[in-house]
């Protein structure tokens, strides 16, 4: 159910701009890995590569020991095993909260309408959004929309969740409610890869923190080590800037 993810020498370039160079990463079942680093360091691209939304140029990505990036695997099958939440929520504005959530279960996984509804209601209740079930996304606050996006990704019971800077577009007072949801998922044992600018959150929730710089994982280790005792000058510089900005 909860898969193991491996990246081996993954390379990705957009035209001649190299975004990921020889990235190696292993994520064990139930492990939470946080990706930190400045904008443009390759965090989002890495997540989109795992989800096959972006084709890699070299290397392999493996899911449970099987290569998923050699073209032999149907991307839709891979995507059905994982959920991704984006910075900009990307809810479907022409559908109610409920329809957003049950779209993939009913149209992709063949779950019948009633069962999908029950599952949606259960998740919404868990996240305190049951009263919004018939609302349209534009009637919700940013934090509520992002929590609905998390529910939508969870509705298909994925074993792996990818979070792409999910709080970056939120007003500061709405950040906590979304981070709280992710912390809850960690307690449930969800495997997660989280790209984030929230250093305090990364320190609390991560089993492993990766510092990305210009498409390279420059430093990797448990949060105590990365935040208290970084080995690389670039990591120290990055964290210093974050601290100067009062974000750590």
């Amino acid at each position: 159910m909860t898969p193991k993810v491996e990246l081996r020498n993954v390379v990705k370039a957009f035209d001649d701009k190299v975004v990921l160079r020889d990235v190696d990463l292993e994520v064990d079942p139930h492990e939470v890995v946080c990706l930190i680093g400045s904008s443009g360091s390759g965090k989002s691209t890495l997540l989109k590569c795992v989800n096959l939304l972006v084709d890699i140029d070299d290397g392999d990505i493996l899911l449970d020991g099987n290569v998923i990036t050699d073209g032999s695997v149907n991307p839709n099958d891979v995507r059905q095993k994982m959920g991704i939440v984006f910075q900009a929520f990307n809810l479907f504005p022409h559908m109610t909260v409920l329809d957003n959530i049950i779209l993939a279960p009913t149209k992709v996984h063949g779950v019948d309408q009633a069962a999908a509804r029950d599952r949606a209601a259960e998740l919404l209740e868990q996240f305190g959004l049951l009263d919004k079930i018939e609302e349209y996304p534009d009637r919700l606050s940013g934090g509520q929309q992002q929590r609905v996006a998390v529910v939508r990704a969870l509705a298909t019971r994925p074993g792996l969740m990818l979070f792409d800077e999910v709080t970056s577009a939120l007003d500061p007072e709405l950040v906590a409610e979304v981070l709280g949801v992710i912390k809850g998922l960690k307690e449930d044992g969800m495997t997660m890869i989280i790209a984030t600018h929230e250093m305090g959150f990364a320190r609390d929730v991560a089993d492993e923190v990766c510092f990305l710089d210009s498409g390279v994982i420059l430093e990797q280790g448990p949060p105590q080590q990365i935040f208290k005792n970084p080995q690389q000058a670039r990591t120290r510089q990055f964290l210093q800037r974050i601290m100067d900005a009062g974000r750590l």
Binding site: P75, R79, G83, A88, N90, F92, L103, K107, D138
Partner: protein, 311 residues
Amino acid sequence: MTFPPDDVKSPGLWPSGRFRRSGKRQLREEGARSALIAAGSTVIFFGLVVWWILSSEFWPAVQKQFFNPENFAEAWPDVVGDISLGFKSSFPFIDFQGSGFWLNIYMFLIAEVLILIFALILAMIRALRGPAFFPLRALVIVFIDLIRGVPIILLILLLGFGVPALQLPGVPRSELFWGVTTLVISYSAYTAEVYRAGIESVHESQRMSARSLGLTQFKALRYVIVPQAIRNVIPALLNGFVSLQKDVALVFVLGIREAVREAGIYTAATFNYTSYIAATVLFLLVSVPVARFTDWYTERDRRRRQAVGAA
């Protein structure tokens, strides 16, 4: 007492309610005044134009040729046509027996439904990505380019006279069938481009989001992209309705006895053009309300979007 008083909000000291009411009344009075001025100037302006036309020395000749009430009354029944004969058989409604303007409306309705469906299929094929779909995409692009590059009247002549002349077994020979088919082919090419503009107006992140949930390309289009795309292009589609409603008349060249043909027959017999004016009136009766509706809908949609944007 100072003016304005410090505690304007206090209902006891300052009768703000009465002030609001009188403000509204003032607004209403101003609105009524503008409406009166607009009405007055309109009456005067058009009154002058009509007086100028009617007092012209050429008017009697013009009226006799184009606006003769007797000729109008005489031509009207044929131009409007007959709907009482209806269909020989019911589904799929291809053997309509009516004539005149009723036949125009029938052709318009049938063609419009088929165009909306066929054009959407074309646009969705064109929106598919990936090398596997290249042949299909290329086919659609070539079709759209070719059809848009040929005058519609030429297509009507080619298909309406040309195909029946081949006398191929199993191929319909009815002018009505080929007239409507040509309209569908031609308008589908344009309407597909309208849909395409709509599909491209939906942000790329919506497609990415749908795909990330495991939806196939087709399902992402069907459930996520196209519903939003259509909403974005409804005004453009309604414009297409108005345009098609008029272009239906072009099939008169095939000898189909729709309104323009009937009017032409009357003119040929009497050398009087009032029958064309009768046909004109009928087309306006349909297209002007649709045009007004399009404007009303576009404005309402614009306001709604702004309201959402502000919220």
